[in-house]
């Protein structure tokens, strides 16, 4: 048995990967390419198949069909212990009967690497737990255990590091701190990280590339800022941040813009930012791209105006206020306004108009089903 370990990370390619369990399909013909040295996040709600995908890559689950290529080599027939991957498990899975340093040295000993203890100590120092080497895992806090699990995986310099919601059990503050550390370590060691999470903030914060997964399929993949700016499906628009989405028949279209008739109102999006320009389509806008006005703004070719409506809810979140505006016949619109002293002072029940720049609209490929938030 010889495992091929690269000096740095290797690329990962999934080709037509599929996993069926009795009664349902967990992963449906997944095609994915993770370039070497990238921090890649697989983002999706629980039950979307992301953990199953990760377990198939680790070899803990056998795919029904498809290929898994690591550095161009198909690893489908390799047992978990023969694959050049390491996993940071959701519950850490540290060996309770071994000291922290023995946990970290475990993989090195299996591969008969020279000076396992020296390397394990160095890995523990990297996660700033060098002084805890002789303790048992049960004597560490959750955050410390998490870092031991990370050191135990990283010390092997795997071609691919898999992270299965490793920050899920930590409290918010520690999670933010670990996100920064994890990102820093990834850049330092240059390994390929595949991070599975349901926390969209975590994914956008850390990953170079985010793939949003839903019902066993990848909905959209790309850089976090691109994904956020131009979601292509209603699911991505709702799962990655919040969106106001309007559905209507296309009423006007030219080379620049496409407009829909939304319950008597004209809503326009740039053609370049739309997936579809015919029939019934959905146009969305992010809440922080919208403004509200005490007087009706003039509708032009560069903005969309809706209203008037009543403010039914105001939520103070610190840096911004979140307003819920109920417009008769149209429904509820969410508006985020930064607390920088520029937005008009409004109270619950005030009558306002909502507007946004056409260039901020995005046209979706599908229509919302109303279940995206579930």
């Amino acid at each position: 048995m010889s495992i091929d370990f690269g000096a740095g990370g290797k690329d990962l390619e999934l080709v037509g990967l599929r996993k069926e369990f009795p009664g349902f399909v967990a992963v449906e013909n997944l095609d994915l390419k993770v370039p070497a040295g990238q921090f890649f996040a697989l983002l999706g709600p629980s039950g979307c198949g992301k953990t199953t995908t990760l377990r198939m890559i680790a070899g803990l689950e056998n795919p029904t069909s498809g290929k898994i290529l690591i550095g161009g080599k198909d690893v489908i027939d390799l047992k978990p212990h023969e694959r050049p991957v390491n996993t940071v498990f959701q519950n850490y899975a540290l060996f309770p009967h071994m000291s922290v340093i023995e946990n970290v040295a475990f993989g090195l000993r299996q591969r008969k690497v020279d000076d396992p203890m020296v390397k394990a100590q160095a890995a523990l120092d990297m996660v700033e737990l060098g002084h805890m080497a002789e303790r048992r895992p049960a004597q560490l806090s959750g955050g410390q255990q998490q870092r031991v699990a990370l050191a135990r995986a990283l010390v092997n310099r795997p071609a691919l590091l898999l992270l299965d919601e490793p920050l899920g059990a930590l409290d918010l503050k520690l999670r933010r701190q670990m996100q920064i550390e994890l990102k820093y370590i990834q850049m330092e060691v240059g390994l390929t990280f595949l991070h599975v999470t349901h926390d969209q903030e975590e994914a956008m914060d850390m990953a170079d590339i985010v793939a949003v997964m839903n019902k066993g399929q990848i909905e959209q993949m790309g850089a976090p800022e691109k994904l956020y700016d131009r979601p292509k499906t209603a699911f991505v628009a709702k799962f990655l941040g919040q969106s106001n989405i309007f559905v209507g028949e296309v009423s006007e279209t030219n080379s620049e813009a496409v407009s829909i008739n939304f319950k008597g109102n004209k809503i326009t999006a740039p053609v370049a930012r739309s997936e579809k320009t015919t029939g019934k389509i959905a146009i969305g806008v992010r809440p922080e791209k919208t403004q509200f006005h005490a007087t009706k703004p003039e509708a032009t070719s560069t903005n969309n105006v809706l209203g008037p409506g009543e403010i039914t809810d105001i939520r103070f979140t610190g840096v911004s206020n979140q307003y819920l505006i109920d417009i008769p016949e149209i429904g509820e619109i969410i508006v985020f306004a930064q607390n920088v002293g520029k937005s008009p002072v409004v109270e619950l029940g005030a009558q306002v108009w909502v507007s946004w720049q056409v260039e901020h609209s995005f046209g979706l490929a599908d229509l919302p089903t109303g279940k995206e938030d579930a």
């Binding site: 680790a58 070899g59 803990l60 060996f95």
Partner: protein, 304 residues
Amino acid sequence: MAFVALGGSTAAKKQAPKKAGRVALLLLLPGIAYLGLFFLTPLFSLILTSLKTPSASGDIGRYDYAVEFGNYLFAVEQYMPQILRSFMFALIATVVALAISYPLAYFIAVKARNKPLLKGLLLTLVIAPFFISMLLRTFAWKQIFSNDSWIVNTLKSFGIFGTDSYIIGTDFAVIFGLVYNFIPFMTLPIFSNLDRLDLRLLEASGDLYANPITTFRKITFPLSLPGVISGTLLTFIPISGDYVVASRDFLGGPDTAMIGNVVEANFLRIQDYPTASALSVLLMAAIVILVSAYVRRSGTDDLL
């Protein structure tokens, strides 16, 4: 895990008012009284008896109080083969029972973990023998292994056995009976330990390049040691003192007597009470020494 439990209880003790201490003592009283009456008193009487000398009157079965340590020397000299045989049988039977029970317990606890029906059925099969008296079961084996039984006849007809060969009364029959009787005592503690084994640890081990054999050696087995220790103690100790299986009325013969049989014979037939008592005390002392050395050596303090 033990330190957590201990830490908790000492903390609770500190906080508890004195009244609670009195209640605890009251609750302990029946247990202490029971042990005092039925364990310490006989033990004391046993030690006294073991030091007695034959009555001056010369009557058989009558003894006077004395401090005759020679009884111990006599017991050891006279019954060394039986003493050694007891521990040898107990050791072999324990090892064989472990070899049978561990895979069985592993299968029930790990492989059948998500199959409640199979798991329940297998557990019932392990426990089912308890529903019938141990004497009856052992006697049944005597029938099965008896000289005209189909097993012996079949072995003879295939030429594996000579015409005058037999099973009853051999070391094999006794060890077989011991193993059979004590398998549940070995299986259940190991099962209850493996049932709690976190399978994700095995996945983590595989993920860290350990093959299944190494994973068993380094993860599964060390984590199951508390169960193995309990199981081996629950089999080794009673087997060392067992006097049923090895007796001539059951699976034993003239050359298979263990300490239990010797003690029984001395007490009930020869009426040599001091020797019987001395043997009992020796057996107890030997077990205490062996077991404490074993538990200490296995170093499971932080696992128990």
